[in-house]
């Protein structure tokens, strides 16, 4: 008997139960090998197999097993174009916040700049503080501010430091490393500037989205910024969400708290986030579009389960297009989204998505 499932690019395919199990095992083996982490148990594999090999359009968790549901990117969920996973529905930021709280069942939500990066918030910080204050007066759910550290904006041509990628191609490796270190210091300063002001304006917390997207210096700069925020605002809720399952080594040697961050996997990343002062860690595993959903889910759950096992803070796994086993598609198919989420709850035992 063949079951309806998908490839990592969203293409519909049919697979037998045996083929699904083989792919789950192969994905698991890849994660275990790359991360140096344990395999899933036979029980885990059986649960994931049942989740994937199910003909229902959607699946879900049992009553009482529900977990925290947090949305990122603020009002852009609605107002963004469909290339940005939005719906192209124009509305104000207050209306978007209230719709997430009252219609979509969001347990937390956030305010965000349309560029969704730290740097462009600086020149409009007063306006963002005012908006935060106004929406806090209406909303009941915890309401954060969210942004990507996005260290790429600090490199040429957008920022003051040389672009490491360009410098390295000219074999100017020391200069590339120095530029990355300077950018990391700069993004940390900007994080402190932006986040402390928004917390002062009433934000319940801060969501650092796609930490490390520009590589290991981006990750170190963010963690240093998180540490500054924690020192300035001891009670702030801080979510450190990652950009990928492994920290890209653009610098290669840059450290946080004596630890080289390049090449760290989720179970190692979470320990640095804890040290920096994060309240919650957003673990990520990227989807391979050429492999099946079963392969990607087996791989993702293996990484995230070990992260949860080693974490001392709650882990909210990043689930969306191209992450968490979910196919890379503008509008991720609900059959795949619900299956991946169920597996993350029942096998990886995540605290939120």
């Amino acid at each position: 008997m063949a079951f309806y499932t998908r490839m990592g690019d969203g293409k519909r395919v049919e697979m037998t139960r045996e083929a699904i199990i083989d792919d789950i095992r192969a994905g698991m083996a890849d994660a275990a090998d790359m991360g140096g982490i344990p395999d899933l148990t036979e029980d885990d594999i059986a649960i994931i197999t049942d989740i994937v090999a199910c003909n229902d359009r959607m699946v879900g968790v049992a009553p009482g097993e529900e977990i925290v549901l947090t949305y990122d990117i603020g009002q852009l969920d609605f107002t963004g174009d469909n290339g940005n996973s939005g719906n192209g529905v124009d509305m104000g930021r207050l209306e978007a916040a209230l719709l997430h709280e009252r219609a979509l069942g969001a347990d937390t939500f956030e305010l965000a700049h349309s560029d969704y990066s730290i740097k462009p918030v600086k020149p409009v910080i007063s306006m963002e503080m005012q908006t935060m204050e106004e929406i806090q007066a209406e909303i009941v759910a915890p309401y954060f501010y969210g942004a990507m550290p996005n260290c790429g904006l600090y490199y040429a041509p957008d920022g003051p430091y040389g672009n490491p990628a360009d410098l390295m191609r000219e074999f100017k490796i020391d200069e590339a490393m120095a530029a990355a270190e300077a950018a990391a210091d700069h993004v940390a300063r900007d994080i402190e500037y932006v986040t402390t002001r928004l917390i002062q304006a009433g934000a319940d917390g801060f969501n650092f989205d796609t930490t490390g997207s520009a590589g290991d210096a981006d990750c170190v700069g963010t963690l240093n910024g998180v540490r500054m925020l924690r020192e300035a605002c001891p009670d702030a809720y801080i979510n450190v969400g990652m950009a990928g399952e492994s920290v890209m080594g653009i610098h290669g040697m840059i450290e946080f708290d004596g630890q080289i961050v390049a090449g760290l996997y989720p179970h190692q990343q979470v320990k640095l986030a804890q040290k920096a002062g994060a309240s919650v860690f957003g673990a990520v595993c990227n989807t391979n579009t050429s492999k099946s959903l079963a392969w990607n889910l087996g791989r993702s759950v293996t990484f995230i389960k070990e992260c949860v096992n080693q974490a001392e803070i709650p882990v909210h796994v990043d689930m969306g297009m191209g992450v968490g086993g979910i196919p890379m598609l503008e509008t991720p198919p609900i059959d795949a989204v619900s299956r991946c989420n169920k597996a993350m709850v029942e096998v990886a035992h995540v605290d939120g998505v």
């Binding site: 174009d81 469909n82 290339g83 990628a165 191609r169 074999f171 490796i173 490393m177 492994s246 610098h251």
Partner: protein, 219 residues
């Protein structure tokens, strides 16, 4: 039989070059190559040894055990070594020409740079002549580079709203009558094998390593 004898004769030098490449330290690579030359090892065999080790460095990069600066250090060491070996090879009428020319860029309207840059670097390390145009590259610039002799055209996009530009460039290559002269490679977060097939690209790269492997396989 002769080859086996040769291998035994330069076993230590081969191992030293290999180990120096894996250690990704430029002075160590240059030292090991100088020693191999002094011992009489054929320059072509030295290059092959470095090439094999470079492939290993690429695998370690793909597995997250080494990172871009390390790959670059190994490549820089290899470049320095070539400065030593090239005069020797020219004396023996050897060839030290670059492989094919590759134009690389992130398509018009898209400012995401890192993935494309890593691809460019990996291809450069593999010996290709890279013309990296950066990001937000006007479509015509790709066409101009192909007309100028590039036989590979690499395009990257990180957004679903900009990936459509890849098809427009391919159509322009057709319209200008140069599509047959060039292999088109595409990549980036929203790009899939299915999309590459749909727009008529020749190569889809899931990662920098895979892109390099596929380009090498076709050149």
């Amino acid at each position: 039989m002769k080859k086996e004898v040769f291998k035994l004769a330069f076993e230590a030098e081969t191992k030293n070059i290999h180990d120096a490449m894996i250690a990704v330290m430029v002075p160590g690579i240059v030292k090991s190559v100088n020693e191999a030359v002094a011992a009489g090892m054929d320059p072509n065999d030295i290059i092959n040894t470095m090439g094999d080790a470079m492939s290993e460095v690429g695998v370690m990069f793909e597995r997250g055990k080494l990172f871009l600066p390390h790959v670059l250090s190994a490549a820089a060491g290899m470049t320095k070594a070539m400065e030593i070996l090239t005069p020797l090879m020219q004396n023996e009428s050897g060839s030290t020409e670059k492989k094919a020319s590759v134009v690389m860029g992130t398509v018009e309207g898209d400012v995401h740079d890192i993935g494309k840059s890593i691809c460019s670097t990996m291809l450069q390390c593999a010996g290709y002549d890279i013309h990296d145009l950066g990001r937000d590259v006007p479509k015509q610039k790709f066409i101009d580079e192909v007309k100028g002799g590039c036989t590979y055209c690499g395009m990257s996009a990180l957004m679903t709203t900009t990936m459509t530009v890849m098809k427009e460039v391919i159509d322009m290559l057709e319209a200008e009558g140069v599509r047959g002269n060039v292999k088109v490679l595409v990549g980036g977060a929203p790009i899939t094998q299915g999309y590459a097939d749909k727009i008529g690209a020749d190569i889809y790269g899931e990662s920098a390593s895979e892109t390099t492997r596929k380009v090498k396989a076709t050149s």
